[in-house]
Each structure stands twice: as structure tokens, then as C-alpha cells.
Symmetry: C2
Subunit: 375 residues, 2 copies
């Protein structure tokens, strides 16, 4: 293998595949990046066995200076070490040659010779049966992930809840996550007539989101156990979580007895202060008191202290209410929805309450939070 | 105690005293900040028993809006918790009142009531006998610390080496540090006729440096066991390290048999690459090869690989040489000196070599590095 490449292009590609690489893999060769060169392409692959990322740099006539291939071949290079070397080299170009299992890296007056591993032992990429694909804009997927990722469970006791449930049907994509204390739902209109029902690991979507910058349109393909995302030069693979995700539609209340509209920035600032007292005590509870159309947020923690703030609300309807909740969950919901005006609706202080954008009355953007029982 | 204060002023003052506060103190009350109010001043004190910082906000007629005192008193507030509350409040002003051992904090529509502790139990600040003081510009002290702090030992086996040795005499301040593998020395001309010979803990100087921004001139005072730095509104106290610092003058070679001048940026960039291979192997060794007026830097590590780079040098004098060293020490020395052109001078490959600014031939700015024996 022997090629010369524009260093900035190689650094970009290494940054992409490095997102799949974890220090904590059971298969030693997966600490490496597979580098393959054909007559026309340089392909890099990184994987942690759950997520795999492949990216291709082509030897196109328009941009011949990007990649000049002298000899085909493949090798596996230590991911961090190789990437750090390429990043710290001086000069625009780097020449890479294999000599047996050694990799020679030359740029400017620097010459490295580092150990590689045979690419024969590198696992194959997953195969996805050629199903119909679902086309989506990158912006749509960024919004979907942003609005649902925070409610993904971080506990392994119910593995399915560590993922986001995607239900694609009737030109609609519904994404739902819940850690059983709160729930996020986002419904997006899409133009695909295909359907699917899968659970994608939350970590997968966090890594995928990081690859979407500069991408316009993408294609999703699913089979029973794998997701493939086609981003053009880059292809992203992830295993899916298997099993039956709980029915969440029945959890979203269809009625409310108390409601108001509130400025999100005002509430976020209050929550940040109230959280200080809750976190200082280790007891993550705050309380909304709604009385005669006025809203107070407060917490009182013996030993530590107490805080109380009055908030301005609009469009108050319904009955007085006292309800306790985890302030971090409401703070997260505000970050997830990212709208200036929010509608809160409550039934009783034992039932989940719902946060929606003030301009939405449907269930397209929902953050649902279960209250904390304090008695 | 009852006062009203401009919030941004209080945040500034809290940031200053917080630098002395550590989560790992043996004396529980030192996790707090002592707040004292007299008829004319608000004083804050933070301490970790090694370092103490006192800062004063005065009720001056010109800036009356900064501080309005209604009632004298003092209390100790939990440092992190109180500081975070003040930082996250909305509005320009904050009103602080004590009610027994409780502290009431009111700003805008927020009202906090948090637990404090009696100031009676807070330790007294160290007393420094009224010795002659040494005046220094803030810039001089920043340079002295920056050029010597990296050679301070981080190991407790020889406690004196965890400090910087200050020798003040004859209108000269000599600062020296060594971890026994390398040595940094900086001599500064000062206008004080007083003399002193003390060892200041490295951590003290790191914290002190952080307080020097915006300060023009400062005064140092020492007694046998304490340092006091007068920064105007802020006073910084530190204990000194006791004992006889080793004689370091005899360690700096007065002759050399090989020498050259090199561009610091070029060498730093090469060292960063060579260090990658050394760090990957865990064996922190690199080698200068000086042959017929040419300099090569290299390292070869079995298992990991090797790297070699040719460097441009000027003003070469003397004999060929091969010398092995810890590349991190040379990299640190480059950061410490922070000059564009450096002079390296060597005797044999067993004796320490010296790095100075190319424009200096005296010992006012010295970085000395002991070679690594590789045979």
C-alpha cells in the first residue's frame, strides 16, 4: 500500500471514523482504524462492534491533489496514535507506505515508522438486506435526536429503554424515549411511504448526530437487527435493540385541569437556582404552587436551606395545584423543546404533566414528566 | 448583619477568595467563606490552612451603589453553594441578611434562606511580623512564576523541592526550582534593598499568579514561616516551606563543548511529534544527534515504532554529540522560556545541558536538563 494524501482531508476522515472507536472494546483489533486503498479510493473504517463508521475519499479527476494512489493494499493502524501523528505533522501532504506490518509516514522532514496489524483479522461490516430506504433531511434528524435523547434511560436494567423508539408509517416518523420517569415524543412529517418499527440505541444517535454537520440529506435503512445511515461519502452502521418497546401512547394524558403558558428562559433561570438547593441536599425535588393564577417555584431542604421564586404566567386556566417534581427533568425538557413560550398542562398532582410548545396543541412535540410523591 | 451589594462586585470578590478554598481540608469550617461587615467595609476570607485570601469591598462615597451597609456582623457561608447562588441570581443587586445562623439572600423575585456557621469558629489569619517589604511589578512576578513553576517537584519525598527558592539580595531576586531531573532559574533586577531567603510552595504561586490579572504593583513580606502578598484590596497569605534548599549554583555548567541556536517553534513542533512515540511506548526518551553541524531528533521504541526529524540550526560550535533526554522536559523548558530563538549548550552526554534565550549569555534565564542514561 502506498499513497499520498492532502493532510487536512485525511484528518477530516480520521475524525469521522474515530467517533466509532472506544477504548473499552473486547476485540483488540477494534482499537485500530482499517485503512484500505484501491485503484480509485481510500477507505477508512472504525468500529466498536456496536457502531461502525466507513468513510471514503475518492481519487476524483477534479480534485486529484487530494489523493494520489501508487499501490493498493490495506492495513490496520492504532487509532489514537496514528490520528495524533497525522494531526501533528507539519506540511500539507503526507505519504503513507506499508512495509510488511509497518506503516511509514512521511511529511516534511518527519519520518515515522509505526507498527500496524494485518487487515485480514478486521471484522466485516454488517450486511443490511437491501430494504427500501427512508429519506430525511439532516436538520430533521438533528431535531428528532435533540428532542428525545435526554429521556433515554442510562440504566441497563431495562435495555430497550436505553434506545429511542422510531415508528415510521403513513409518511410520519414518530420518535419516543422514556426512562420511565419522563417521556419525550417528536412526530415529524416525512415524504417516505415505507414503514419501520425499531429501537435505536441512544449512544448510536449521539454519535450519529455529531456526523451530521455539513450534511444535507441522508437515507436510513433498517433490517431486524441493524441500522444503516447513508451520509454520502460516509456510511454509519449500528446494531438495533431487540424486543417490544412499551406502548407509550396511552401514557400521554388527553385532558388537563390546570394549565398555563410560561416564558422558557424565565423558567430555566429559576430552575437553575432552585436546583442549587436541591442538588446541595441531594434530594432532587422542587414544587410548583399554582394559586389564584399565580405560580411559585420552591424547594425547602432541611440542613441546607430553602428558596422560593414567583414566576409570571399567561393564559392560566383551571384549578389551584401543588405538584412536586425533579427540577432536572423540567430543565432537560426545556432544553429538549427549545421554544420560547411553553404550555404546561396538569391533571392531579399524582399524574404526569405535559410540556408542549405554546403554539402546538397536538402531540407532535411532547415532554411528559411524572411527579415526585412527597407524602 | 445586613447589607446590599452590587452583584457583579460580590461575584468578583467571591471568585478571588474561592481560589484559596479546597474540597479536601481537614477543618470543616474552611469549606466556608467568612463574610464580615463593619460600618465601612465588606470583607471576605477564604482559606485552606496553607493559603488564605482576604479581600475587601469598601463603602466609598464615590461608589456608594457598590455597597450599602445597614447592620454590622459576620457569618461563614458554604463557599461553593453560596457562590453559585450569587452567580445564578438575576438582577444587578443582592440583599444579604443574617437571621441567627441562617443567611437570607434576596434578588429580584428570588428569595433564598441558607444555613451558615458562626464566624467565631473561623481561624484567625496568620500574623506577619512587620518586616520590610519588597516591591515588585505584577508582570515581573508573572514572568518569574512562569519560568520556574514547571521544574517544581510534584513528589512529596523531598518536600522542599515542591517549592520555588527565592533569594533576594543586592537589588536582585533569584528564583530557582528543581525536581532533581531539571532546574529552572530566573534572576530579576528589583529596586528593593531588603534581603530574604525563603522557599514558597509551588501551589501557592500558581494560585497567586491567578490573582495578578489587573494588578499593577504588589508588595511581598516574609517572616520565618509565612508569606504575605499585598495586592491592594486583596491580601494573600501562604505558609512557607521550612529547611535549607540545596545549593543549585554549582549545578549550572560554566563551560560547553557543543552548542547551537535553534528556532523554538520548529523544535516545539518536532518535540510534539517525537513525544507521541515516546508516550505511546511509556518510555519517555528522545535523542539529539549532532553530526557535522546537523541536528536530528529521534526516538525508537520497540513494539510501537520510531520517528526521526532533521532540524535547522544556526551558530553551531564544537563537537559531534549524541544525547538522550526526556522530551517532555525540553518541551516544558521551551514553554518556560518563551523566546523565539534559543541557545542550547552541552558538555558530555552524561552532564546536564542548558537552554537559554539566544540573546542571553548570563544565567538570568536558565533551563537545565539532566540527560537520560540509555546504556
Amino acid at each position: 500500500m502506498k499513497f499520498s494524501v492532502k493532510r487536512s482531508e485525511l484528518v477530516n476522515k480520521l475524525n469521522i471514523v474515530s467517533r466509532a472507536i472506544s477504548g473499552k472494546v473486547m476485540i483488540p483489533i477494534l482499537t485500530g482504524i482499517k485503512i484500505s486503498v484501491t485503484d480509485s479510493d481510500l477507505t477508512l473504517i472504525g468500529s466498536n462492534s456496536e457502531i461502525s463508521i466507513k468513510t471514503v475519499l475518492s481519487n476524483t479527476p477534479e480534485k486529484q491533489e487530494n489523493l494520489v494512489i501508487a499501490e493498493k493494499g490495506e492495513i490496520v493502524a492504532n487509532a489514537n496514535f496514528f490520528t495524533n501523528i497525522i494531526k501533528r505533522l507539519s506540511g500539507d501532504r503526507v505519504d503513507i507506505t506499508t512495509e510488511g506490518s509497518q506503516i511509514k509516514i512521511v511529511a516534511g522532514k518527519s519520518e515515522f515508522m509505526v507498527s500496524g496489524q494485518s487487515a485480514d483479522n478486521y471484522p466485516q461490516l454488517p450486511r443490511i438486506d437491501d430494504l427500501d430506504s427512508i429519506s430525511l433531511s439532516s436538520k430533521q434528524l438533528i431535531d428528532i435526536i435533540g428532542e428525545t435523547i435526554r429521556s433515554v434511560s442510562i440504566q441497563d436494567s431495562r435495555p430497550l429503554l436505553t434506545g429511542i423508539h422510531f415508528i415510521i408509517d403513513n409518511e410520519q416518523l414518530k420518535a419516543v424515549s422514556t426512562d420511565s420517569h419522563r417521556l419525550s415524543q417528536r412526530i415529524t412529517q416525512i415524504s417516505s411511504a415505507n414503514s419501520a418499527d425499531v429501537v435505536v440505541p441512544g449512544r448510536t444517535l449521539t454519535e450519529l448526530r455529531a456526523l451530521l454537520e455539513g450534511i444535507d440529506q441522508l437515507n436510513l435503512q433498517f433490517d431486524q437487527s441493524q441500522l444503516l445511515v447513508d451520509l454520502g461519502q460516509t456510511t454509519f452502521y449500528s446494531r438495533l435493540l431487540e424486543g417490544q418497546y412499551p406502548d407509550t401512547d396511552r401514557l400521554i394524558p388527553s385532558e388537563s385541569t390546570t394549565g398555563f403558558v410560561i416564558d422558557a428562559a424565565q423558567l430555566a433561570s429559576s430552575l437553575d437556582r432552585v436546583s442549587l438547593v436541591a442538588h446541595q441536599s441531594g434530594n432532587l425535588v422542587a414544587k410548583f404552587t399554582i394559586k389564584q393564577g399565580k405560580l411559585t417555584i420552591s424547594t425547602a431542604q432541611s440542613e441546607v436551606g430553602k428558596v422560593s421564586e414567583e414566576l409570571s404566567i399567561d393564559h392560566f386556566i383551571g384549578q389551584d395545584l401543588e405538584i412536586s417534581f425533579n427540577p432536572d427533568f423540567v430543565r432537560d425538557a426545556l432544553s429538549s423543546i427549545a421554544e420560547e413560550q411553553l404550555n404546561f398542562s396538569f391533571t392531579t398532582n399524582l399524574r404526569p404533566f405535559v410540556i408542549r410548545p405554546a403554539s402546538f396543541s397536538d402531540n407532535n412535540k411532547v415532554q411528559l414528566i411524572t411527579p415526585v410523591r412527597t407524602f
